[in-house]
Amino acid sequence: MTWSRRHVLATDDWSRDEIELVLQQSEAMLEVLARPMRRTPALRGRTVVLFFAEASTRTRISFELAAKALSADTSIITASGSSIEKGETLFDTVRTLEALGADIVVMRHGAAGAPYFVAERVSSAVINAGDGWHAHPTQGLLDALTLRTSLGALEGKRIVIVGDVLHSRVARSDIHTLVPLGARITLSGPATLMPSAWRCGQLPAGVAFEEDVDRALDGADAVIALRLQRERMDAGLLPSLREYALTWGLSEVRVARMRPGAPVLHPGPMNEGIEIEAAVAHGPRSLIERQVTNGVAVRMALLHLLSTTPGAPAARGGGEADRREGKEVAA
């Protein structure tokens, strides 16, 4: 398996081999992170621009740590305190990015598809760090890594995703990543927070919908709880947060319906007491802290892989020496 992608926009068209490659490299990066000197020179002299048009401290810091651990130079463009607030268009930002001459642009944006817009127009490699409701590929990959470490091979495993699937890029990327690895997904949540096509039987391959969360959890191998945004209630999609917590929230009683020891994941930040009880979030099944560490490793793996893409801009200046160095890192 050789890596040939220029961008990481979504994993919806990735092969199983590509996903496996990233997971393998991520495991190697975890070893780097376990060393006392958490740093390798793989991306020395390269520039990674973190373009965060939508606030997200956690994902941004995770990418920043990943880039620094690979010795890349980083600069940050955020929505607040920049010209984006003053009505600068995405097109203007594209020009700025191009002028900065970044090797890799990591972008978070509120509009689905924005990374495609940017990738079409800049010479840098683009990593999607979350676009609207569409995709959050590094989250999907880190969830796959986390689940695989806990469950072993995902072939035939049944994973439940509970909550606001309609507005969730995490749910979509989890589907894009876990299904090719052989897992089956059961979606559960209120019908108002489910894409209507998926609720009415037009589901992606490997995915099922079960409105009753208790039935969805019966015998499941793992569960991923999604964050519930308060504004969904104001939009008339939910009667109340209390009712949501009662009907869909992950309580200790509920998670006990799964296989013994079946793990609980959450992309964070959590609303404890709404989509997940504190006792579950911090209990023995929780892999939520593990997800954070794995996130850095997955992002390191992707930043590194993009710098090895043959003929790609992110690989420019990077000769054989760099690539050998990279191999060493991953070995």
Binding site: A10, D12, D13, W14, S15, T89, L90, F91, H109, A111, A112, G113, A114, Y116, F117, E120, D131, G132, W133, H134, A135, R169, R172, I175, H176, V179, P180, P195, S196, A197, W198, Q202, P204, A205
Partner: protein
């Protein structure tokens, strides 16, 4: 010039092989075999953007684009700035249309003042000034009581009301058809029900008033079924469909560039992952191309097939382009932020001819829906205009190939088959594709002359 042995199709869809005089010049006869002569097409629905949005289109550029697309008559929608809601503006629009000396421009006036949906415009006066119909297109008239009054007044003015059918509470902030593709792309959807509930309301009000109601850009199987029933009940309702709703599907938002009759490799993600290289025959575009953003949105293949059935059984009265040109800055933004609309008046006929070739429908039915059908909606006699079409001529849709200022079409880069090579309006040849015509000239001596003209 006389075209010999040309296939001529009439506004009723009948056809024969005959000789047709094109214009009054004395150039020698031309071999017309393989060409089509059609009555000048009538477009019930186009946005010419003037006044107010001249960066997107003007009456002159729009009327020229129309002519190149074979439309010798074009109805200009009123959603300009200011809206066409006064007799002076109607007269001014008509005058600019005459000055352009391209397609005949028929003004459609707004239903409500400023298209604000609050107070009726002076419909009787607007009709007297030359408005051929009333429409707040771009927006529906949300207030059902006001819409009832509009129909009553339009009846008195002997003009149809053309309604943009959309329940805006249901469509919400949607930007594409709500279905499997919007679910995969994570874009807010516009459900078919947003159109169907509006069609049901409007039909009920048409029945109540007995006025002439014309439903614009009907796009779903369910909406068409409602129209079919209304017609069977004798309600005075007509409807139009657009060429893009007859050829493209919501898969185009996900990056497909296959017409509905072409095999599509891979449904949209994540159902079947596809590789771009898979099939060079059906090119793929990029997902989230704002050129695919249009209102009503591109629907499913099942809806497209239902529209063709409606065309065959007469439920659909007209094919109208909803030509919606936009300056690039309104489209070069995030999908959710981009303006709705496709620039389509120059590609419409080619796409329809290709659909007919692929067996989607009958040529006669398509010609009727582009000529006698719309004439009936406007209650006017079809003009004597003619167009000449080379149905075998292939061309590539590029920004430069379009006369319209709006280059916003998802067909950019696609190769189409079928091109208008001449258009006659009011007895005057107002458009002629010299390059295409010269290859047709009869005796060898004339070909040299034609080349000389082409070189000039």
């Amino acid at each position: 010039m006389i075209l010999e042995e040309v296939r001529r199709i009439e506004a009723d869809g009948t056809e024969r092989t005959t000789s047709v005089r094109i214009g009054s010049d004395m150039s020698p006869n031309v071999d017309g075999r393989g060409l089509l002569v059609l009555p000048g097409l009538i477009d019930l629905h186009a946005h010419l953007r003037e006044p107010g949005y001249e960066e997107s289109e003007t009456v002159a550029t729009g009327a020229r684009a129309a002519l190149r697309g074979g439309f010798t008559t074009v109805c200009a929608m009123a959603n300009t700035m200011p809206a066409i809601d006064s007799p002076g503006l109607v007269a001014e629009l008509a005058a600019r249309g005459r000055d352009a000396r391209a397609a005949r421009v028929l003004p459609v006036a707004a239903i409500t003042r400023g298209r604000e949906g609050k107070q009726l415009a002076d419909l009787v006066e607007l009709a007297a000034a030359g408005a051929v119909a009333f429409s707040d297109d771009g927006d529906p008239v949300d207030d059902a009581r006001l819409f009832r009054s509009a129909l009553e007044y339009a009846h008195a003015a002997r003009r149809p009301v053309m309604e943009h059918v959309q329940d805006r509470a249901l469509s919400g902030r949607g930007v594409m058809h709500e279905g499997a593709v919007s679910a995969a792309l994570g874009l807010p959807g516009i459900p078919a029900a947003a159109e169907e509930s509006a069609v049901a309301r409007d039909i009920a009000i048409a029945k109540l008033t007995g006025a002439r109601l014309h439903l614009q850009h009907v796009s779903t199987a369910g909406a068409l079924e409602l129209v079919r029933h209304a017609k069977a009940d004798g309600i005075s309702v007509t409807c139009e469909v657009t060429p893009h709703h007859l050829a493209l599907t919501d898969e185009w938002v996900g990056g497909s560039r296959a017409f509905v009759w072409e095999p599509m490799r891979g449904a949209s993600p994540p159902q079947t992952p596809q590789k771009v290289e898979d099939d060079p025959q059906t090119p793929r575009g990029v997902p989230y191309d704002s050129a695919t953003k249009v209102n009503p949105p591109l629907r499913t293949a099942a809806d497209v097939r239902a529209l063709w059935r409606g065309l065959a059984d007469g439920t659909v009265d007209a094919i109208a382009t909803d030509h919606a040109p936009h300056a690039s800055f309104r489209k070069d933004v995030e999908y959710a932020e981009a303006a709705f609309g496709i620039s389509g008046i120059e590609t419409a006929l080619a796409v329809l001819l290709m659909a007919v070739d692929a067996g989607m429908g009958e040529l006669g039915a398509v010609v009727r829906a582009l000529t006698s059908g719309p004439a009936r909606v406007l209650d006017m006699r079809g003009p004597d205009d003619l167009i000449v079409v080379d149905p075998a001529l292939e061309w590539t849709v590029t920004a430069g190939a379009l006369a319209s200022k709006g280059k916003n079409t998802p067909l950019l880069g696609r190769r189409l088959r079928g091109k208008v090579i001449a258009a006659v309006v009011e007895g005057e040849v107002r458009y002629r594709d010299e390059t295409a015509m010269q290859g047709r000239a009869g005796p060898p001596g004339r070909i040299k002359g034609a080349e000389a003209i082409a070189r000039r």
